[in-house]
Symmetry: C2
Subunit: 344 residues, 2 copies
Amino acid sequence: MATRADVARLAGVSASTVSYALSGVRPISAETRERIESAMAELGYTPNAFARGLAGSRTGIIALHFPFTQRGLNASEFEYLHAASERARTSGSHLLLWMNPADDLAELRRLSSQGLVDGVILMEVQTEDARIAVLQETGVPFVLIGRTADTTGLSYVDSDFEEMGRLAVGHLADLGHRSILFLSQSEQLAKDGYGPIVRGQRGVEVECAARGLAVRVEHAAARIGAGRDVHERVRHDVPEVTAVVSMNEQALVGFIEAARDQGRAVPADLSVMSLGAGDSSAELVQPALTTVSPPAAEMGARAVDHLLKVVAGAGGEIQELITAPLHVRASTAAAPSAPSSSRE
Amino acid sequence: MATRADVARLAGVSASTVSYALSGVRPISAETRERIESAMAELGYTPNAFARGLAGSRTGIIALHFPFTQRGLNASEFEYLHAASERARTSGSHLLLWMNPADDLAELRRLSSQGLVDGVILMEVQTEDARIAVLQETGVPFVLIGRTADTTGLSYVDSDFEEMGRLAVGHLADLGHRSILFLSQSEQLAKDGYGPIVRGQRGVEVECAARGLAVRVEHAAARIGAGRDVHERVRHDVPEVTAVVSMNEQALVGFIEAARDQGRAVPADLSVMSLGAGDSSAELVQPALTTVSPPAAEMGARAVDHLLKVVAGAGGEIQELITAPLHVRASTAAAPSAPSSSRE
DNA sequence: CATTCTCGTCGACGCGCGTCGACGATGCGC
DNA sequence: GCGCATCGTCGACGCGCGTCGACGAGAATG
């Protein structure tokens, strides 16, 4: 608990000289600097974060607002976190985790009015996101992971889910599939305007139209049982479906189980792929899932980079759209020939 | 950005009166309090966190030290995080996420010397954990999630992995299994003294001894391929094994795949169960895994509770051992009768 | 009625640091 | 030799709040 004054006394200089030695804002002679540094080492001095935050303009703390959603938390969410934390650390900032509900705007306002943080990273961004107005009001810099419908003046990092949807359909079309199921999240989530879902679906539909494929959209809660229900409906209504593009990890597992129960093997009879699922969970299911998944770690790190730039007053918005790679694993294969698709 | 002085001016009182109205440390007349409160509301006043931290003794910030380990990050790790964050929030504290490597003690010392946090929660605790000495040195209160070999004077929340191991073996023994495989993490991790592994294995061995079961221990990296390798070894060396207790989610998936490739079905020919896997990931694999898993959410919340008590000067250590429930799902069944166990 | 206490409020100070203005000591050009 | 800019250092102040001692006004006590 040594203070700046202690260091100054031991080094035989004034307190402000210690500050300048630390910040480099004004020149310090090599000899003085050395005396100060050894004094700091001897005392084990670490500047007090609160005094810094009070006196200075920067606080060295950024917050990650990660509202808890209806969707379960996948391992990939964790990667964002980890990467952001890591990057913040190497940039000399602390990362605060705010996990209060997205609709508790009063709480968000309170938190961001405390002057605690230099800036905020918003996760789970909706196409219309009320949090943005709050943050603009309080004047706290922020960047989005994801993006809203209108992004003028906003900084964000997002993966291009529309492109990802097209990529997925392209892969399946190339394998000869002609009729596709898009397995979405709950209708509620889509209505709320959860960007990835909205854009992913659009990409799938656009590419299907372009390639002349039929597409069926099914909503399901993020539960295994919901996936089984979907399979039942699809089996009756559109038995010609031979491939699934899923944005619902949990439901997909149920869907696959149900298909298997009906004697349809993946990928021989049915190809499935996952949009946005983390690579780690894609390999937990059997067969390992072909995915188009955003590079979560990279995005988390980029978000921190952008935020720090914005905080430093980069001026103007920083917008970045990252395209996700197609990762072919064991769950997709050539479409079955006629006999198989006419089964049931 | 209204300050206490602004509120005081508007309410027609002194600045210190505003403070006392906020903290309740000294009595304030109802009338004055009301004037102050409406002034605060009108100005949208929020006390500055840094000034509070500087002037007061408490900072309102706690840190979660979550070192990145060799093991992958499971969904259950996320639950700790979420629960801790949630509980911190409802207790009026901020949660800081420190994800630097466990062996970077200098960094940990620096972080905890900044006077930023009231206390620290340590995750991924080893049986001998060097971080503890650092924290004791810097005088920052802390609690463990997990525990060390010697816990005198330390506060912790841990799940009773030894008990969990016994529970698992009991379940399998009741189903008639007589020869068991314990699928561990890498040998390195066990040597490092990662508590759950060490204690889980002990529990398994103790209960096997008590019930007269044979047990084989295999180490594997947290990768699917490693699990396949283990299966190969086990198939040759101890073909009589009919049940697996796993503390390695990733390897277990590989093991199950390999078994299936060899024509051994789960759970008809082979029962498997997972120790410590989160419930969500247990249901992603097929068949859904029987587990004995610690209530991550509860533990995360309890850790925060304990820490806040310790910070408040509860005096003495707070130690809590939580027993995890056995959750029977589809991956365990009665041991196959003789013909099946003599296969190969 | 005088005295002591309690209640409600005020002013002052300190927490540890960033930063501004000032100032002595140099170095330079003329 | 003198004026002037530059370098290195110092003292003072302010950031916004918690808290301590003091103090006036009543209430309680004799």
